[in-house]
Assembly symmetry: C2
Homo-oligomer: 166 residues x 2
DNA sequence: TTATATTTTCAGAAATTATTGAAAATAAAA
DNA sequence: TTTTATTTTCAATAATTTCTGAAAATATAA
């Protein structure tokens, strides 16, 4: 397979995966492009490669920086800003976990705790408390494991995976 | 907190969480409603509770059945169809994992394998192979662990979580 | 200071996704 | 069979999200 073809397929796939997981397609594509490019790129490079507008590129680069997975690089004596992303996949997974935990798991846990305060002891209410309690318990467990993963080092992760597989 | 308020908050939160993870809001809300309702519900019940149209309810119920997390219940002597969802949260997580694996992880792994076949040995191509190779390796590991989880029983899961936490 | 390069913003347009509602299809009952 | 209940489909519409492009803001150089 030709490099340009492979590159395009990868960028496309990364964008599609993003969409399926609630991430803007362009955001996924920019990330993919930065991943496979060793050097940092300018907004214009990205606009050109992905055929998107300046506004679009700028907005999604900002989002990626908000997620903490893309960094601005300033080159001495250059006026333009360059962008790059870390190439360590495990660190990437860790950062995405960290953000999703903060953005989605935490709010859901807050609601689950709140609604547990429901009044009454009809079967209906009891069932509601049971289900939301179960969800809350499960979420807490996952959250704890995720926290451990986020704080962990490379070795820990692979050791755990090994344990899991046996 | 009043039951109706708690119920509404929970349904709302479940819909929002769904959206953030690439699942249609109404789908999440229907699932939430079925979760907290012990008895099976008809399409009309759902339309009324969530104030959505028949088409919408029908479409999203079908999607939920495609995901394997909602079941049709036929009541003897009744013409209407009823719908319900399993109340076991761990089993729910397992089923969602199973489907996401099939729908998203598998296609991505296929692409990652394909693009590894890229020709050339320029630094650019070498870097591309390195990054997609790393991604592929990471994905395989996660996929394996997920597979184990899907096939596992309740005890296994909690034992693993315990190990993870210590 | 003024000129120039670069980034950011944001209103409007385009594209995508979700929803409605009524007609068509299906299935059970009479 | 016909009638009635119920589900499914789908074209039209609405809502939401994404994208554009040009103007405004910012920053650097002259």
């Amino acid at each position: 397979m030709q490099y340009d073809k492979a590159k395009d397929q990868f960028i496309q796939a990364w964008g599609t995966l993003g969409s399926a997981w609630g991430i803007n397609k362009a955001m996924g594509q920019i990330h993919a492009l930065l991943l496979i490019t060793e050097e940092a790129l300018t907004t214009e490079d990205i606009m050109e490669e992905l055929k998107i507008s300046r506004g679009n590129a700028n907005m999604n680069l900002r989002s990626l920086m908000d997620w903490g997975i893309v960094q601005k690089v300033l080159k001495p004596g250059e006026r333009k800003e360059y962008f790059t992303t870390g190439k360590d996949i495990l660190e990437l997974a860790r950062q995405v976990s960290r953000e999703r935990r903060r953005r989605e798991i935490e709010p859901v846990m807050r609601v689950l705790n709140e609604v547990q305060e429901v009044e009454g002891n009809t079967p209906q209410v009891e069932h509601f408390k049971k289900v939301t309690g179960d969800l809350s318990g499960f979420t807490k467990q996952v959250d704890g494991a995720l926290d451990k993963f986020i704080r962990s080092d490379k070795n820990w992760f692979f050791q755990v995976l090994m344990k899991l597989m046996r």
